[in-house]
Point group: C2
Chain length 341, copies 2
């Protein structure tokens, strides 16, 4: 049961290793009969090539990596199928890698690039500081897809939405529906990524509508529960309801938080939207199945993915122009918001 190598197959078939290599890699310059004979043996002995050896040797991989910050993030996971499809259609192989929030995406990216000889890499999610500088040392083109950054980008391509602006849209919508006391479930206290941007949009919308910002309506996620989870939304909303603060609407900066908030509100014996209107952010599929269906803004993930792939391919093909593309979200009016007054 010792692992078979290409040499073993070559010996068994009485051919050279390169011929075996040609057979298993669909190389054109090989006699079809020889090929078939070899493949039969490969099949019979269940020979499986060692990818490490192949990766080590191969110079021209044709593979694009997708490096996802955060395991188990439903929003990003909903994009995987699109990435697969787009990359496949463009003739690229792909490899996904999910890393934990506390892992360093830059190191991981470099490791992936070397290990798999990537042609390009797409960063999905997370927060990268000064990408123009920190990512400059990558050997291959990269695209930041829904990645939060703290600087204006010049050299780094990016695709996503403007979180501040879209957040503004939500709050403005609630205000237009007559809401003045709008609670908001934001990130953890020191969230400098999307949570912060969405919070900023909230504040600006209030200001523009002449509503004084009341920080007692700001609900921070707990740091002892998973970020952006139902459990976190439930915990903080339950607590907030107990505080007795007056409000007519609550805006959760992620749909799953809203789902948790729903339960907290029901537990308190209140009704949505009659007692409290609720809005979310992201537009994940589950919002349709919530009861009542959650009014939210939907990120155009198909467009975001397609553009990310388009850019990485252009860059791989030599066009190193960096582009920053922002898409608008779509306001999905469902049943969780009521007009008041």
């Amino acid at each position: 049961m010792a692992a078979l190598t290409i040499k073993d197959i070559a010996r068994i078939c009485g051919v050279g290793t390169s011929t075996v290599s040609r057979a298993i890699n669909d190389d054109p310059g090989i006699n079809p009969e020889t090929k078939e004979r070899i493949l039969t043996v490969v099949e019979e002995f269940h020979y499986v090539p060692n990818n490490s050896a192949r990766n080590l040797k191969v110079t021209d991989s044709n593979t694009v990596g997708v490096l996802v910050k955060g395991r188990n993030n439903r929003f990003f996971q909903s994009m995987y199928a699109d990435f697969e499809q787009e990359l496949e259609q463009a003739g690229y192989d792909f490899t996904f890698k999910e890393i934990a929030y506390n892992e360093n995406e830059l190191l991981e990216a470099e490791a992936m690039i070397k290990e798999k000889r990537l042609k390009g890499i797409i960063f999905l999610g997370g927060m990268i500081e000064n990408p123009d500088e920190s990512l400059a040392r990558l050997d291959v083109p990269y695209v930041l897809c829904t990645v939060a950054v703290n600087t204006r980008l010049a050299k780094s391509s990016s695709v996503g939405i403007d979180d501040e602006k879209e957040s503004y849209k939500i709050v403005d919508y609630l205000i237009k529906k007559g809401h003045k006391r709008i609670a908001v479930i934001v990130g953890q206290r020191r969230d400098y990524a999307v949570g912060r941007r969405r919070m900023q949009g909230y504040v600006r919308a209030l200001n523009d509508n002449g509503i004084i910002f009341d920080d007692s309506l700001v609900i921070y996620q707990r740091d002892d529960l998973p970020d952006y989870s139902e459990a976190n939304g439930y915990a903080v909303m339950s607590e907030f309801l107990k505080s007795g603060k007056e409000f007519t609407a609550v805006y959760a900066i992620a749909d799953l938080l809203a789902l948790g908030a729903y339960k907290a509100i029901y537990d308190a014996g209140k009704k949505i939207p009659q007692d409290y209107s609720v809005m979310g952010f992201d537009g994940i599929e589950i919002t349709k199945y919530m009861h009542p269906a959650l009014t939210t803004v939907r990120q155009p993930i198909e467009k975001i993915v397609k553009e990310s792939v388009d850019i990485i391919i252009k860059e791989i093909s030599g066009d190193r122009t960096s582009r920053q593309v922002y898409y608008e979200t779509e306001l999905v009016e469902q049943d969780s918001v009521i007009e008041i007054l």
Copy 2:
């Protein structure tokens, strides 16, 4: 920007490659000063070792692989964190790999084993025919974790639940609550995996309680929608409701299907549980946040994961006894079932 190799670092530091290797791998037999000097250079030049080369050379990996059948399966994803924790605690590295439903797990397993020099592999989910035979050629120990099989296992270790029995439990519970006309949302028409087993439990529970099986109450998932998804549950339940069949409870063989069914029922202007009781299967977290919270059976994922890891470690350590462990689910009585009559 050409990729740095260990040779480059060695040259820069004026040492041999093996010394660099020792430095980056925390090898004990190295002068601490030399080590520090090398690591400084490594840091400065952002040298990242090539994992393919390392994997190729290394014989003793200490890595366990987890091969997941099905991308984006929320039930399995909820187990990842536990796997990580258990394996880490046991001193093993791990690597996850998700493959599509139509990919061959056996081939993929062999490739993984070779590429990463795995010490053992855990199959998560899916359906494997005749594992005793088909998996015999793997070079390393393996455990089937929540994998459906069509034979009695002798050589293959497995951990999971008895789907038939647990399904029986659910239906029996509904019957004890007075329900006689119980619709069931099952797998696609030719599902030979867990869907089939759960269906069998449904039938047996009816029989044992003297209720005649009525196949017009069996609702098959559509094959043009994702398996076990909210969308599928919604679509088939909507259709079923239109048919006007009489029933008082519906049992969905997966929680997400139940979530879809909820919406279908609401859309029809009916109430849960007053008009229809609903039960699910799996006990994923979201069931707590559904409205009303879904009564379901919860798979003891912590136990399942822990036992899987324990077994693989024992087998790796030389104890090749094969074990088949079945856990009971926990009936989580929430608010979606009402007693009738």
